[in-house]
Structure formats: structure tokens, C-alpha cells
Chain length 233, copies 2
Amino acid sequence: MAHEEVKVLSTWLSMFGLRVLIALKHKGVQYEYKEEDLQNKSELLLQSNPVHKKIPVLIHNGKPVCESLIIVQYIDEAWPSSENTSILPKDPYDRANARFWADYIDKKLYDAGSRILRSAVAEEREQAKKDFVEVLETLDGAFLTFSKGGLYFGGDDIGLVDVALASFLCWFKCYETFGDFKIWESSKCSRLPKWAEDVLQHASVKEGMAIAHPDKIVELVQFYKKKLEAGSK
Amino acid sequence: MAHEEVKVLSTWLSMFGLRVLIALKHKGVQYEYKEEDLQNKSELLLQSNPVHKKIPVLIHNGKPVCESLIIVQYIDEAWPSSENTSILPKDPYDRANARFWADYIDKKLYDAGSRILRSAVAEEREQAKKDFVEVLETLDGAFLTFSKGGLYFGGDDIGLVDVALASFLCWFKCYETFGDFKIWESSKCSRLPKWAEDVLQHASVKEGMAIAHPDKIVELVQFYKKKLEAGSK
């Protein structure tokens, strides 16, 4: 294959950016990582994603691809490989299911998690925690039929849903700290806690998420919350 | 091919449901259409989409697929065909671009359109109209590079972005009526008005959208607005 230039614009704590890194690691693609300062976005980011102006962006031989799940599917298609590292399954129905659950995570989990961190009103925060746990319980129910007896949503190896959900795990400590609860203990999830342990040990996930430290995320969110509180006094 | 059973659960005025019908027509797939009453959803709908409980749902040989853009991609993959009726392009980068713009329509256009219809405050309605027109202008800018000189976003034939956007056209009269404006005249779109004319003449779009009458949509929205007003007095 000709020399390829692969750049990722992201920030170390973005669950959406981490998905891209996990997928690239899984495919064995070398890339250059560029940390973005979201308070002062680079010209390259603004030019590469003029519509949303958001990270992550993958730039492959000068051509930008935006939106994390679209990037992950692009990576799967641009670097086709052996069955072992396919991120989407082959069967059209299985593919539709993988897209459905990845989309579900995007629509429901991020929102509930953000509300846990942002809510100043106790009642709203409790509702957010309840919503967050319910999303995980729904995913727990899906896991059993979806994983076909394997360790992952993707079966014997990680797939789109694993990539989409695993990237959230580094935020769990933060949700627990500011929500003052234990996620798994508050839930009826029977299978997902083990999935979380397993997926974090998967080489592609471990390497892709190496830049994201749960303790540092807690520290940073604490810093911004204090800054906000000071500003509102 | 063995006997296939294809059902679509939708309502006649849903832009999301219409996408599914356009895609099936484009592939030449025979289907049974089931009109849903959203005030009184069928057991089949609730069983087929227990997570979101929303239309449209495609049921293919007993197996449900949900979420309109996921369904359209499923149709493209489950009924692979000649290049002529491919809904997604072959090239991975072109596919990512098609997904990006279809996703953009979902994230931005529906919301702005709904705000035109719902806003009781004049200022909010004006902002919604401005947002709606801006989304179309952004799509207009994308069309030139995207269509590669063809009549459609998909080039010489319709593709994912055409399917995603065309289904909104039957709502334009409604947005114009209740927003008291002319969409194209209020915009700087140079190419999209012609695209709209062409795409509505495309056989798959014409047949798929035959059930959706712009005048009836206006009447129905008028009916619900009056009911709401009467209720709030």
C-alpha cells in the first residue's frame, strides 16, 4: 500500500474521539494524534469540519471525515481486512442491529451522563442517574441476544457497539463521583459489568484509551464546576 | 429468491417513513404497507420497536429494523443490486460523506422545521425560519461538490442524501403556510430548488411519496393547532 497519512484531531477525554483511536488500533493503522484545545480550536479543525466545528475528525490523505460513528464505519471500509478485525458484521441484519444500538448509545447515554454532571437541582440529578442506569439495563438486555455467546457485543471480538460503548467507561468514575452513586450496584445489569471488565482488557481498547485517565477526568470536571460556581457567586 | 415478506409500519405524513418507501421502490421490492395510528399504536409496532416505540419499522421475514436511515442502509445491503439502484456509493470516502449529510439533515432540518410549526412566540418562529433556511443553504453548498455534475446528490441517480432530504419536501408547504414565508425565495440556494423539482419527478421518489399530500399535511397541522389553542383557552 502507498504511504498513507492519517491524522486524528481530538481531545484526550472525548469518548467520541476515543472511538476513533480504538478503531484505528483495531485495524493496525498508524496515525498521528493531534490534541485540540476546544477553547482555541486549530485552523485545521475549523477547515476540516466547517459544518459542526467539532472533534473528532479523521484526516486520511488530506480528506476529512467527521462524526465518530461515521468515522468508525469509514475506518472499517477504508481498511478492509480479515474477518478478525471487521468492526461491522457481514450480515445485513446484524449490521442494522449494530448501527441501531450504537445510535441508541449516542442518543441516550451521553445526554443522561451530561445531565448527571450538570444538574444543579437534586431532583433533576436523580432523574438523570435513573435514566443513565435504564439505558445500561436496556443494553444489558440486548447483550444476551446480540453477543451470540461471545465476550463482546460483536461476539468473539469487538464490534461497532463495543467501540461505541467502551469509550464511555473512562467517564464512569466521574459520573459516580458527581452523581454520588455506584453505577453497577444501582442497576439490574447482569452481564454488562463483566463486559466492561473484558472490553477494557481488549488490546485495541486498552491501547486506544491509554490517553484517557478516569482520575484526570474527575479532576478536570471538578475544576470546571468550581470555576462555574465561582462565576455564579 | 425465496418468497419474501416485507412490511412497513408508518404513517402517511412521516418524512422518516417516506424514506423507507422511496428506498423500497428504488430497489423494486414489493411490500405491504401498514398505516399506524400514533395515538393508538399497534401491538406489532410496540413489539417490533420496544426501545423507541416509533415508526417507521421495516419487518423483513419477521425481523424488525428500526430508525429510518438505518433501514435505508439495510435495504441497500439486503437487496444488493446493479450499480444503478445502489443507494450508497461504493467508495468508502463517498459513503462517509453521504452518511455525514444524511445525519446532518436528521440533526438540523427536522428540529428547525418543527420549531417553525410549534413556536407561539414570533421571535422564536423567526429564528426557526432562519435556522431552517441556513440548513438548506449549507446543503446547497454541499450539492455542488457532492453531485459531481449530476442531477442529484447521488450523482446521476438518487442516493442516501436524496432519500433523506426528498422526504421533507412534502412538508415545505406546511412550513411555508405556518411560517408565512417562501422557503426558496428567502434563501440564497442556487441549486437546491432545481434539485427539488428533479427529485420529485424521479420515479422512485414519486411512487414512494404518492401517499403524502402537502395540502392534507397543512390541513392536519391546522386541525391540531386549533385543538391545542382551544385546549389552552
